[in-house]
Amino acid sequence: MENSDVKKIFKKVLVIDDSETDRYVAKRMLQKYNFADEIVVQESATKALIYLQTIENTPDELPQFIFLDIRMPEMDGFGFLEEFKKLNDTTKSKCTIVMLSTSLDSEDFDKASSNPFVNRFLNKPLDKEKMEILSQDFQPKFP
């Protein structure tokens, strides 16, 4: 139920999740609520990083918003954040990161909260309420 005519909030959003269903749900919800023009999904943190590195020097290509899952095989969300730190400043300042997880571990929550790149921590799934909140709270840094 895409609505291509409607003005999107962000130009480009990146969803990093190992779960195919969740990637699908996220993509559909973001489309439905006109969150971005382009929704890029990556199935692992590693792949996402490679993706970001390839577009690092072309700021226009960079996603303005990243939905990051915590529990993932190989490299988890926090691993990704460690590597993200190494990216150039333009990248770091342009990308707003929201952690999206089913974890109830307060340790995860604390860790995420204290990370300078994480904007907020949301419990899965992305539903109507959360989308509305996000739409209200975020505006693209580069309109």
């Binding site: 269903t21 969740d22 749900v25 919800m29 089913t102 109830l104 899965k124 799934p125 992305l126 309420e129």
Partner: protein, 815 residues
């Protein structure tokens, strides 16, 4: 021969009751002195009598002589002369120069012991009348023609004659013959000779007396008429000072006045008095004399003078006094001695016992005099006593005699001391014993022994206790710097007591090198602060093994604020230390396991919830994509089931964490906590209406508590209030009231929900209890709340009226 008068005078002296045969002046000496003076005085008397007799005779003779001369001159009648010549006691003679009598009278014949005149006329004067012819020749011519010489009588005996003769001459001066008269003066000459000898003797005696004795003579009135040098010397008075003074002048007044009175009374009766008298010299010094006063009585029985003879006995007296003093001292010492002193005869009867002995043995001196020592010796020790007694009698000194006696009141006393033989003239005549009453000491010793025994038992117990506790004690004497150690102390250090008797600084080497600073610091602290110390350290055993000890020390026995001793204990905690180490390992292992488990629980819950959230996500999308009512109803049913499962997983997670995790302590901000909770629960919604959540927090004190548990409690109760709201009630609410104080936190959560029936109220906190089939929960919520409250040592109460609402009241003490 002794003058009978003197003997009579002396008799009372020898029989005098006060001076029976006094040894200091032998009767012999006394006799000699008496006799000498008697002779001296008697001779003087006789001499005087004789002199007057002789003077009378001489007067008579001169008268005769002149008569003869008269007759020759005046030619008195021949017959008268003849008669005188015939009857005259004196010898009258005429003799030739050659030595022949011409005429002699009968008196002369008688005087010379011849039988007849004719016989006398026949003798040769020179040859027969002289003992030696030389005597005739040396015949001295006395004054006035009187010469005294001796002649030999017919029988050869001696006769002294006084010759008053003259040579008759003719006108031409030729000697015709010699005539004269002879008077027998033998007795006079003898007397004179004797007197001469007596006088010499007397003066010798007197000299000797004056030399040796102190002599004075007083007249009948007691006035001193004579004082010899010795008296002057001893009395320190000059002769002049003494003579003319009463005899009392040299007496010592005071102590022996009675003696002097008695002395005066005695001598005034004419009786010799003798005694020892104390006198005072001029310079006040005291001297003693043995004084004999002899009254002299004249023929008419009157005393005319007193002769006082004295011997200086000051030294003897002083010695006597000293002896008596020391004897008295000894006597007093013996009597007053606390020791029991006794002297026994050979047969065991008592010779002497002192006051202490009598007091201890409770007998009187009279009772003792009839008793035998062996009567009062305890039978058990009698044989030993007899044996010792015999040994002493054989001359041995026996020390350490210990004997049990029975007193009069049948009390046993133990006496200890020594016994020595009593020796007189090389014979043992008895036994002397010097004893002490040691009964009390013996009793005390017995008591001490008992106490010691108890003490030993106590010490044994202490040692045993120390052994069991593996706790050794030691004491440091601050004065000497020496340490003493208990048995267990030595055992812990695996060293002999001797090895530990080293300076305290060297004892530091017993410790592990790494721990020595701890130990020395503790000691420095003790010395400065004078309090105590407490530390754990490692000891090095001689074999290199290491032991852990726990040491406690404390200063004690304070004197003027400074401790005399440091008492310390060391406890072998090696085993405990090992156990502790094991425990620590276990705990860290457990912690690790717990952490792993926690991770696991999170992982599991995440892995369980992840698919659920995926499903919810898909349902969410599907709901958006369809308008089919049937489909939407189904999706909603799916969604509720998934949420229920998710809630259950969350409850399980809470339960697991509450049960396993330690309580944490952190500052609680109830406002923030409730804000988060209400924010999360606001849209719990579903079929539920929005509930009015009223929060009232009164934080009087800052509370430190376990945040996650408080969160579980509040979250569950508030969500229950929302979940079980009463649909009949128009404005559902939940009121949260929190009050904090210094001691506790009170939480009241009140709602106007459906309430819980009285029947169920007691069970709502049970695990998996669900009030009705309508309950959407897992049946774990209130159970976890109760568990969490209990973990925080609090309590929870429920008040509820079905249809009206429920009130949960929680009280949690501050941590």
């Amino acid at each position: 021969m002794i003058n009978p008068k003197l003997e009579k005078q002396c008799a009372p002296y020898f029989n005098h009751p006060n001076h029976p045969n006094h040894p200091t002046m032998s009767s012999e000496l006394f006799y000699t002195i008496s006799k000498t003076y008697d002779d001296f005085l008697g001779t003087q008397e006789r001499l005087e009598a004789r002199i007057s007799e002789l003077e009378e005779m001489l007067l008579q003779r001169n008268l005769n002589h002149s008569t003869i001369n008269q007759s020759s001159e005046k030619s008195t009648t021949e017959s008268k002369y003849k008669e005188l010549f015939e009857k005259m006691a004196d010898g009258i003679y005429k003799s030739t120069v050659e030595g022949k009598f011409i005429d002699v009278n009968p008196g002369l014949v008688k005087m010379l012991g011849y039988d007849s005149i004719e016989e006398l006329l026949a003798i040769d004067i020179k040859k027969d009348l002289y003992f030696e012819e030389s005597e005739r020749e040396v015949d001295p011519v006395e004054e006035e023609g009187i010469s005294i010489f001796r002649l030999k009588r017919k029988d050869g005996s001696e006769i002294w004659v006084e010759d008053r003769g003259q040579y008759i001459t003719d006108d031409s001066g030729k000697i015709l013959y010699h005539e004269g008269n002879l008077r027998d003066v033998t007795s006079r000459i003898k007397t004179e000779q004797h007197l001469q000898k007596s006088q010499k003797e007397t003066s010798d005696y007197r000299k000797a007396l004056d030399q040796s004795l102190i002599v004075s003579i007083t007249n009948q009135d007691g006035i001193i008429t004579y004082a010899n040098k010795n008296l002057c010397k001893i009395s320190k008075h000059s002769k002049e000072e003494l003579i003319g003074k009463p005899h009392r002048y040299i007496n010592y007044h005071g102590e022996n006045d009675e003696n002097i009175l008695e002395q005066d009374e005695t001598v005034e009766k004419g009786i010799v008095w003798r005694g020892e008298v104390k006198k005072k010299a001029k310079d006040g010094s005291i001297y003693w004399v043995d004084q004999t006063i002899v009254p002299f009585i004249n023929d008419s029985g009157e005393i005319y003078q007193y002769l006082t003879l004295r011997i200086d006995i000051t030294e003897k007296k002083n010695a006597e006094l000293r002896t008596r003093e020391s004897e008295e001292n000894f006597k007093e010492i013996i009597q007053s001695s606390n020791d029991l002193i006794l002297s026994l005869n050979i047969d065991g009867t008592f010779d002497f016992v002192n006051a202490s002995w009598l007091k201890t043995m409770e007998y009187s001196e009279e009772e003792i005099s009839k008793m035998n020592i062996f009567d009062i010796i305890c039978e058990d020790v009698l044989s030993g006593c007899l044996e010792r007694f015999q040994r002493v009698l054989s001359g041995e000194k026996v020390d350490n005699v210990e004997t049990t006696f029975i007193t009069k009141s049948n009390r046993k006393v133990i006496l200890e001391g020594s016994a020595v033989p009593k020796i007189k003239d090389n014979n043992v005549i008895g036994v002397r014993a010097f004893l002490r009453d040691v009964t009390e000491r013996e009793v005390a010793e017995a008591q001490t022994a008992a106490v010691n025994e108890q003490l030993e038992i106590k010490i044994d117990q202490l040692n045993e206790s120390q052994e069991v506790a593996q706790l050794g004690t030691w004491v440091l004497d601050f004065k000497t710097g020496k340490t003493s150690h208990s048995k267990e102390f030595c055992k812990i250090l695996e060293r002999e007591e001797k090895e530990l008797e080293i300076p305290i600084n060297d004892q530091l080497l017993f410790f592990h090198p790494e721990d020595r600073s701890i130990v020395s610091e503790a000691f420095m602290n003790v010395i400065q602060e004078q309090k105590g110390y407490q530390f754990e350290a490692r000891l090095l055993m001689p074999n290199g093994k290491v032991k852990n000890i726990f040491a406690i020390g404390r200063c004690s026995a304070f004197e003027n604020g400074s401790p005399l001793r440091l008492l310390g204990t060391i406890q072998d905690i090696t085993d405990r230390k090992i156990a502790e180490l094991k425990l620590e390992n276990s705990i860290s292992e457990l912690k690790k396991t717990n952490a792993e488990l926690d991770k696991f629980v999170y992982s599991v819950s995440h892995d369980l919830r992840a698919p659920l959230s995926s499903m919810l996500g898909v349902i969410e999308i599907s709901e958006e994509d369809t308008t089919d009512e049937m489909m939407l109803t189904h999706l909603k049913m799916l969604k509720n089931s998934i949420k229920k499962l998710d809630g259950f997983i969350l409850d399980i997670l809470d339960y697991s964490r509450n049960a396993r995790l330690e309580t944490k302590k952190e500052v609680i901000d109830f406002n923030e906590m409730l804000s988060d909770i209400t924010q999360n629960l606001k849209y719990m919604g579903g079929i539920n209406r929005i509930v009015d959540i009223q929060v009232e927090v009164n934080e009087k004190s800052k509370i430190h508590s376990d945040k996650s548990r408080l969160n579980i409690i509040l979250n569950n109760l508030v969500s229950n209030a929302i979940r079980y709201q009463n649909e009949q009630t128009p404005n559902p609410f939940v009121n949260i009231k929190i009050d904090t104080s210094d001691t506790e936190t009170g939480i009241i959560i009140k709602d106007n929900g459906i309430g819980i029936s009285a029947k169920s109220q007691g069970k709502v906190f049970e695990m998996f209890y669900r009030v009705s089939e309508a309950s959407v929960g897992s049946g774990l919520g209130l159970y976890i709340v109760k568990e969490a409250v209990e973990k925080l040592n609090g309590e929870i109460k429920l008040e509820s009226v079905p249809g009206m609402g429920s009130t949960f009241k929680i009280r949690i003490p501050n941590i």
